[in-house]
Structure formats: structure tokens, C-alpha cells
Amino acid sequence: MSFTSPEFFLFIALILPAYVIFKPRWRWAVLLAGSLVFYAALGAPYLLAALAAVTLASFFGGLWMGRVDAERRKPYLWAGIFLNLAVLLVFRYLGDLAHFFDPASGALPVFISVGVSFYAFQGISYLADIYKKRIEPEPHLGHFALYMAFFPKILQGPIERGANLLPQLKGDLTFSEPAAAAGLRRFGWGVFKKLVVADRLGLLVNPVFANVHDYTGLSLLLAVYLFAFQLYFDFSGYTDMALGLAGLFNIRLSENFDRPYLARTVTDFWRRWHMSFSHWIRDYIFMPLQSAWRRWGGWRVVAALLVTFLASGLWHGIAWTFVAWGLLFGIFMCLEWLYTPYRRRLYAWLHIEKSRLAGAWQVFVTFNLVCFAWIFFRASTISDALYIAGNLFNGVNVLACGKLAVKYGLYLPVFKGIVNPAAFSSAASQVCTNTLANFPAFSSQFLGQNMAVLLVSAVILALGGWIGKRLPAGRWPAGVRWAGYALFSFWVLYGLAILEAPGQAYTQFLYFKF
């Protein structure tokens, strides 16, 4: 049951009134029952067993830890972590491992493992927080089970800390109209990001990554850049939906994204991207490792960074592509850690610490480093990734491309009465590069409505973010607000309708597989 399926809307139409009808002190039970139904609807009953195992291991591990002295807590901590990791290994990685060591064997069936890595990490963080005395153990199994299984975040996070979510679930749960309205707005924004923007970008990106050897040069470069945005809008769209759904029940989940592509450094990027996960690996892998290896001096940071990001890669799957992706980020972070003091001195010497131009340059460099890493994240195999990385600039005549861009401006099929795309395509292949001509955007399937929708949506995204920050929708005059809602909903419906033209099916969330 996807957040965008008709069944899910029926599910919400049932659970929300039930939530309101029940007394506040029993609403946790409604949410828990609904969450289990939601998870069971994936059609993989063994996932409920995985959820139960992680929930019980974490709950009793925490409970028993709370009953003993600090010095005697460690066995319970490790036992709880071991059980969580065992579930993670069995349900999430066993198939991956079999494939990794013998790609042709297909020895183990591929499990649907959606959600397991998220709630297993949540269980581990809960145990670690009790061990560190950051939180008290939760004594109520029902509240704790809801903390683990709450349906808006069970599939793809955010990975919630006990300190944030548990207190909200323990007291009387309330319904708040402003929170629900804000939640619905946020949900709609997420639907727009996912279905109208990310899936449409997928139409451009997926064919290239599916057959990378059919493309070279600018086609690959464009696909890599567009994938960066596809992934962002897909995952942040999901997060918006999750946070919006939680808002319907007056529950606040953690933010997961904060304009990550405006980060000035890779470190800054990881503070803004998939924040609940990056904070998790920082707090539960990097910090303990750094602390354990403190006698290594400065190298402890380098080693801890490499191990942390290697683990981050492996969390996404057992494959060389994820190993390379994790290590690449680890190396970026290490280099940045080593280089930052010199950069600061250089900027101070040049008096450009507060220069916007220097800031923009940093954003540009960081964005490109991140995009380079995304190649390994998205490619099907390591050889595909290496092919892409090695052919990004193949056959590109930068000067001629620049001239062509000046002549035609941006490629805007919206104005194709003025700019002839066939002429552009032909000119591109003759003058600038022969590597862009077969890019999916230049196929007739994508021209027209889809490109127009992408461009208009880009304006909506830019304006929506800008206006939303300065003037929240709640403060708009009612007429303007309602007209905005109606037009926005209409646009989403339209984007959805033309996306699902023959051969352009809706795609699952990219992070669903993790």
C-alpha cells in the first residue's frame, strides 16, 4: 500500500475518524492497529515477524537495562543490538550477500525487506540512548510498539529517536485542526514532489542508467545531474508525505532534509541530507569509533570517517557500488577535514570569508562532488559506474556547446513554436557534441506536455519554497489560499494524468528498497 495508492486514501479515511472517535488515552491502540494493518498490506507476513522481533528485543533489552546498574548494562545493550542486527541480516542482507558472492546462483529468494533497516536502526538507537542514560526505558509495550511501527515512517523513516517520538505517543493523543491542515498541505507537497517532479525526471534518467553503454558525454552528464534531483524530490517527497500524515494525528516527526544541494561542504551536505540517518551514523558509529580510537591522534578521525561511511554504504545494500559510494564520501569527508583549516586561512587572507561568490563556488563544488558520488549510488554495477565516470566529458566541445547555448537559450519546448527542437537536436549533434542527440528528452515521447510540466513545476517548487518560508499558507487570505489549494491540486492531478500515458508507469519510491 503506497502513500499514493487509492487503497491508502481509503485507509486514511477509515483510520482518521476512528482515531478521533476513540478516547485520547486509547488512540495509541488505533494507531498501532492501523500501522500493523498498513505494514501487513505489503503482502509479506514475515515482515510482521521481523517487526515483532525487533520491537520485543529492543523493548525488553531497554527494560532490563533500566533495572540494573550502569556497569551491568553492557550485556543487555549488546544482546539487544545483536538481535536487531540479526533480524537486519536475515531479512535485509542475506539475499544481497548470496548475490554478492555468487551473482548467478539466485540461491536465496529476494525478500521484500522494506522498512526493516529503518526500524532496526531505530531499535538500536533506543537501546544505545538508554545505555547512555539519554532517555528512560519505555515501560508500556503498546506505546513502544507504536514508536517502532507508526505507519507514516515505518517504510522509509525518518529514523526517529526515542527522545522525540516516545513522549508524544505516551500522553493523551489529540487531534488539532491547524496541525491536520498543515499536515495535509505537507502531504500534498510531497505528492507533487514525488509524482509530478521525481517520476517525470525518472523518465529521463532511467533509460540512461538502464543502458549506460548506449550513451556517452553530455547525455551521461545530464542524466547524473538529473538523477541528483530525481533522488532528492523522490525521497524528500516521501518525507513530506510522512511528516504530513503524522501531522494529521498531531504527531511531529523529525525533519530529514534541509536544502541539501545548497550545502557549502560535503560535511554540511550530510548535515542536510537524510538527516535522521546521517545523525544516526554520526552518533552511533562515528562518535563511538572516534572515542574508542582516540589514542591514534588525528588519524582516528580519518579512520572513523572511512568506517562510518563504508557502513553507510553497506546499509544501502551489499554491492560494490554501495561500497564505492560509501568510501567515496568517506574520502571526501577526510580530505575536507584535512583541507578545511587551510581553506579557512586562505579565505581569511583573501578576505572572502563572507563573500557570496566564494559561497556560491563552494556550493557548486560540493554539488558536483555529491553528484559524482551519486553515479555509484545509482549505477547497476560497478563497471557501469566506472563507464559513466570515465565518459562524462567524452566528445564534448565545451566552446561550441557554449555558443549553442547562447544561441538557443535554455531548451524550452514550451516555446517550440519559436525554437525548433529538431533543429536544436541537429545543431547539437553537428556543432556541439554528438553525445546529446540520443538523450531521452529529445525523443518525441517526452517532448511537449511532460517538459512543460517539468518547467512549470520547477517554478512552483522555487516559488512555493520561497513563499512558504516568508508567508506560511495559514496566513494567506482565505480566498487566495483556497484558490491556491485548488489550482495546486489540479496541477498535481494533471501531472499525474499525463505521466501515466502508455509506457510511462508510476514508479515506486527510490528508497523503498532500502
Partner: protein, 320 residues
């Protein structure tokens, strides 16, 4: 609870605004496009309804729309001929739903489905949407499978209408924005491009276009549902005192050579499991390649006459 009631009322109001807005777009801003191929359906149905005496009703896909000379059939048989076929993606179940109320004892229903129909008898929601937009009474004649796909049909209708809106507003004077057209080979037809009986006659004198010869069905297996569909049609036609017969679509000689065994295999299965009689053979409806205008099934003027003559010979036993 009051909070929730107010919230629910607001969500319902937004839903209402959307529905009203969509209806405004559907019916006011973008009224049905009565200028394309599907708009002919109303006139076809009127012809069927008003035909007096024993008549012939032609059903099937565009092989019937383009490839049968109904006036010639009328002239030779002395019966009125209503050609209610439009496109292969409009299922036969929908066509029989449309024709059934007007069938009378002594009528002859002639069905000629394209070969790909035997593999995939379901309608194409986008095409059905197109027909429903141009011919609203068609909503009452939907095939059972299409009733289950009404959301898809509405979505495709919305998509087609928005395509027209985008064409007007965003990029006028271009057809690049169309995400689909009724069919590639025939241009969106005007009503005067059909004759009174419902045949499409604007492409008859077009020069033949190069067509790649490929196996009609390949390895695809016949869909077993079609036996039930044909038997149901036969039962309903008989219940009206009329007779239904199956005949074969026109095929290019080069493809008949290639796909002949597949045609015979289909015919053998149908003859075994379908109660409706067959007229002719697949081979008797194979014509020289140069008599086809654009696709496998669309005959030119000369080809259409040859095919109609063949039909007259094959149907003779049923026209006495």
C-alpha cells in the same frame, strides 16, 4: 470532535471545488471534441436505429471502418448496412451492447476482428475515453472489463482534454504536445469523411505507404476469453432473432504468407469452441500489398471493392 468536523468539512469542500473544477474543465472549458473520428458514432447509431427491414450490421475494428464498401453491400443485397466499427481498441462487447437494442429478426451481424484482437480482447482505455467523449451515450454500453477501468478511462479523458488545453495555451500551432492520437495512420477525421453508412472514405485514394511485414501474432497465444465473448454475442444476437457470423479481416499478401499458419491455428480453435458460424477463409481475404493504404488492415478503393465482393460471395447463404 468539533475540530475534526471542521477539518473534515474543509477537506470535503476542497474535494467539491476540485470536482466542480474538473467538471468545468471537462464540459465548459474543453467541451467534447466533436470534430474527430469518434464523433461519427452518433451518426452511425442513428443510421442503425432508423434502418428499416432486415439489415446488415458490421462490427470490428478499423479493417471494417476503412475496408468495407457498405453502399455496394446495400446495393447488391437490398438491405440497409450499418457500419458501427471504428477502431480495434473498442471492444466487441461494447459494440454489441450498442447494436443489440436495434437488432430485429432477419438481421445479419457480421464481425471481422483484427487478428491482434484474438490475443488481447480488452479495450484501450485511452481509445474508449476518446469515443465516450465524442459519444456520451456510449457510457451505457461499456464492456464489463471497461466498467472496472472507469478511473483509467476518466484519467485518459482528462489527459486528452488537458492536451488540447495545453496546445491552445502553451504551444499553439503545433501538434508536438499531443501525447496520443486516435490512431497514427488515420488523421483525426471530419464528419464529412464518412459516408452515410459509417465507412471512412477519405483515405481510399491515398498512395500506398511502405509497411514492414512482420508476423501478426508472433508467439502470442490466443486469449481464451474470446470464446466466451463470441459465444455471448452469438447468444444475444440469436435471442433477437438475428444471425451473427464471423469473417476475416483483410491482410496483405506478404504477411498472409508469413502468418498463414498462425491464422489457420486461430481459425481452428475458434471453429472448435465458438458457436457462431465462419464465412470464408483467411486466405480469401488476403490481397496484394499495393492495395493497402497505411497499415495491414486499411485497404484502398480497389482493395475495398475486392474485399466487399468477397464478402458478398461468402455471405450469400445468409442473405437469402
Amino acid at each position: 470532535m468539533r475540530d475534526f468536523t471542521r477539518f473534515f468539512a474543509k477537506v470535503a469542500l476542497l474535494g467539491l471545488i476540485l470536482v466542480v473544477g474538473l467538471m468545468f474543465v471537462f464540459f465548459v472549458l474543453l467541451p467534447p471534441d466533436y470534430s474527430d473520428t469518434f464523433a461519427i458514432m452518433g451518426r452511425k447509431m442513428a443510421y442503425l436505429q432508423n434502418a428499416e427491414g432486415p439489415k446488415i450490421v458490421l462490427m470490428g475494428g478499423s479493417n471494417v471502418l476503412v475496408g468495407v464498401d457498405s453502399p455496394l453491400l446495400e446495393q447488391r443485397t437490398g438491405r440497409k448496412v450499418a457500419n458501427i466499427a471504428i477502431q480495434a481498441s473498442i471492444p466487441l462487447e461494447m459494440q454489441i451492447n450498442q447494436a443489440e437494442p436495434y437488432l430485429k429478426p432477419g438481421d445479419l451481424v457480421v464481425i471481422s476482428a483484427e487478428y491482434n484482437y484474438y490475443v488481447m480482447p480488452d479495450g484501450n482505455p485511452a481509445i474508449v475515453a476518446r469515443q465516450l467523449e465524442a459519444y456520451t451515450p456510449g457510457w451505457f454500453d461499456l464492456a464489463p472489463a471497461d466498467i472496472a477501468r472507469i478511473p483509467d478511462i476518466l484519467k485518459d479523458m482528462f489527459q486528452a482534454k488537458m492536451a488540447r488545453l495545453m496546445e491552445r495555451g502553451f504551444y499553439p500551432a503545433t501538434d508536438l504536445g499531443r501525447t496520443f492520437s486516435p490512431y497514427d495512420s488515420l488523421p483525426a477525421a471530419l464528419l464529412d469523411q464518412f459516408d452515410a453508412q459509417g465507412d471512412y472514405i477519405a483515405a481510399l485514394d491515398k498512395p500506398p505507404r511502405s509497411i514492414v511485414t512482420k508476423m501478426f501474432l508472433g508467439d502470442n497465444q490466443i486469449d481464451p476469453r474470446i470464446f466466451d465473448i463470441f459465444n455471448d454475442i452469438d447468444r444475444r444476437v440469436r435471442a433477437r432473432g438475428a444471425v451473427a457470423v464471423l469473417t476475416f479481416p483483410s491482410g496483405r499478401q506478404s504477411n498472409c504468407s508469413l502468418s498463414g499458419p498462425a491464422f489457420l491455428a486461430i481459425t481452428a480453435q475458434l471453429q472448435e469452441k465458438v458457436t457462431m458460424p465462419f464465412v470464408g477463409t483467411p486466405a480469401s481475404y488476403c490481397f496484394p500489398d499495393n492495395l493497402f493504404v497505411d497499415t495491414e488492415y486499411h485497404l484502398d478503393r480497389q482493395g475495398r471493392q475486392l474485399r466487399t465482393e468477397q464478402m458478398l460471395r461468402d455471405l450469400a447463404p445468409y442473405l437469402k
